[in-house]
Amino acid sequence: MSERGLRISNLRASVDGNEILKGIDLAVGPGTVHALMGPNGSGKSTLAFSVAGHPSYLVSEGSATLDGEELLGLAPDKRAKAGLFLSFQYPAAIPGVSVANFIRTARQAVHPGDLTPAKFRALIFEQLDVLDMDAAFLSRYVNDGFSGGEKKRLEMLQLAMLAPKYAILDETDSGLDIDALGAVGASIDALRKSDAGKDMGFLIITHYPRILQHVTADHVHIMLDGRIVRSGGPELANEIEREGYDGIREQVAASVG
């Protein structure tokens, strides 16, 4: 029970009556980076939303614990307070709420009273610098009219400012140009080297291996049709690059048959 890590076991979940996750087992330890790779429709984002508690995703079986605490059944904000963070593939816009106000409110919710306003300011400016963004960004409305790159940078800014124990990054690399991808990679890198981030566990969900050139994964998992079909070390990402998901699918079919 008290085993550390973001531990997902036998997770089954459905959306609109269709079972998408068909028994997922996955454990992300503190300070480790796991990549979850798979083609579109394999259920990667469903896993992210189910663990984060999206109301449209119905979990029928299994568990997801964070350092021993069961997440399933908790409201999404309680899961965040337990130490979970989800970086969205398509973050919602909240017009009229400034980035600064949003992050301040969120930080206060997950780590009440732990930063003086001056320290909060210092920290957020430091992170803006890492992400190569200027202070004007803070007074813009959350994701309102943001480019794809700006949205992902804001996700990374929140990740750094909220300092969770475990972060699920859902397709953070999709739709990014080289510069934005570099900034995102540098941000994760800086975070992992910092005191606040050195024990952070990451589950990086991605379609393409290219973000793994910026962030080295300790473990790679391949997901097909709602199941994890292969797990291995970083070399598995190279195999996907060579064989494509169709190649992996054929191997899996052959081994089952």
Binding site: A52, G53, H54, P55, S56, A75, P76, D77, R79, A80, K81, L84, F85, L86, F88, P91, A92, A93, I94, P95, G96, V97, N101, F102, T105, A106, A109, V110, Y141, Q158, L162
Partner: protein, 414 residues
């Protein structure tokens, strides 16, 4: 109860008007004009646009004003806005409305009644008949007033009929705050504001209505703009039992610009009716209308927004954006934006949305650790921001945010 039984006259008929005149004289509006206006109030129907329907709780056709007292011994007149010494020496006039005609006859008669036409208007006629308080502001050409002029209208146990007349000479500039407040149990505000902008004048007119829960409001505001004049109206209707707030701005000269911003929030069993109309009567006139409304509890609201571009208004540019947020199942908001365009070479845009807070926004905020109720409040406050940010002065914006937050707070913590 502060109403003296000897002086109070219930109902808004001839007897009440005679009593009012006996008590305080004609003021700036002569008796014949008042009695004519009263007759029109009694005869004219409620305009179809303001009629009930759709189970509105408050129906103007059934409005019963028979119990309303028209004066109140305890009432003090609105304090006149303080005028900076420099403005006084520049010839700016600020006068109690009732004394304006006697003391500033030429200026008053040149301005009075130029923007408001009460002939076919039931409630403006009522306001004209009983006008018993108010302020006349006359700014000479070229004079710039930096400080906002604040007019406080406070209604008590009797109805209040404020008349605000603001005239800006060519190239002058001013900012006026009209604040409507009430004492406990205030029954009615029925008033008129006339805003007259000569060419190149610039007026910021801010309406901050926070009447109590028993008060009906029937307010008619009309503005006219000369060439290249600019009018910015920001109107917050946050109080009252039933608030009817109508604004029409007419750009008479070429190059005039009108910005109209309105926000309203009906909670409990409040009903808010806002009507804005911008008339483009000359070429190259511009207007922008931004409306944000929300309803909670069993609050009801209605927004009628009209942009009228007359045939001679070549090159007119108009936009109207109206968004409504429903925060409870019992709340109801109707939104009717309209464009009437008689000219060819114009740009006109209107858009409207109505809906609840999106689940995706709520989920997103919740994944950041923000509890659902807090996320709802934050998102709802943010919803008002595009309108709120157009109000003058940070102090006022901060005050309005506090009022909005209080209305958003669930009853348990209110």
């Amino acid at each position: 109860m502060s109403v003296s039984s000897e002086t109070a006259v219930g109902g808004l008929g001839r007897a009440a008007l005679e009593a009012l005149l006996a008590r305080q004289g004609e003021g700036s509006i002569d008796a014949a004009t008042r009695f004519d206006a009263l007759a029109r109030f009694e005869e004219l129907p409620v305009r179809s646009a303001l009629r009930g329907g759709r189970n509105w709780k408050h129906d103007l056709e059934k409005l019963d004003l028979s119990g309303v007292a028209t004066f109140d011994d305890a009432r003090a007149s609105a304090p006149l806005p303080a005028l900076p010494p420099a403005a006084a020496s520049a010839g700016v006039t600020i006068e109690r409305f009732s004394l304006a005609r006697n003391r500033h006859r030429d200026a008053f008669e040149r301005r009075f009644g130029r923007a408001v036409d009460t002939r076919d208007d039931k409630f403006a006629s009522l306001a004209l008949a009983f006008a018993d308080d108010g302020v006349f502001i006359d700014v000479p050409p070229g004079v710039i007033l930096e400080q906002p002029l604040v007019i406080d209208y406070v209604a008590g146990a009797a109805a209040l009929f404020p008349y605000t007349l603001v005239a800006l000479g060519a190239g002058s500039k001013a900012s006026v705050f009209e604040r409507l407040r009430t004492l406990d149990g205030a029954p009615l505000f029925c008033g008129i504001a006339e805003l007259l902008l000569d060419e190149r004048a610039e007026l910021t007119y801010t309406i901050d209505q926070r009447a109590g829960q028993t008060t009906r409001l029937l307010m008619t505001r009309r503005a006219t703009l000369g060439a290249d004049a600019q009018l910015h109206v920001a109107c917050a209707e946050l109080g009252g039992l039933h608030a009817v707030s109508r604004l029409r701005a007419t750009a008479l000269g070429p190059g005039g610009r009108v910005e109209t911003v309105a926000l309203f929030f009906s909670g409990g069993s409040q009903h808010v009716d806002i009507e804005t109309e911008t008339v483009h009567a000359a070429g190259n006139t511009q207007s922008a209308t931004i409306v944000r409304s929300a309803g909670t509890g069993r609050g009801q609201g209605r927004y009628l927004g009209n942009i009228k571009i007359l045939a001679q208004a070549h090159g007119a540019d108009a936009s109207l954006r109206d968004d409504a947020l429903l925060l409870s199942k019992g709340a109801h908001i109707d939104s009717v934006p309209a464009l009437e365009i008689a000219a060819n070479d114009v740009r006109a845009f209107h858009g409207a949305t109505i809906g609840a807070i999106s689940e995706e926004e709520l989920f997103y905020a919740q994944t950041r650790g923000i509890a659902r109720a807090d996320a709802e409040r934050m998102i709802a406050l943010g919803f008002f921001e595009p309108a709120l940010s157009r109000f003058p002065t940070e102090a006022l914006r901060a005050e309005l945010r506090v009022v909005l937050e209080a209305k958003l707070a669930p009853p348990s913590s209110a």
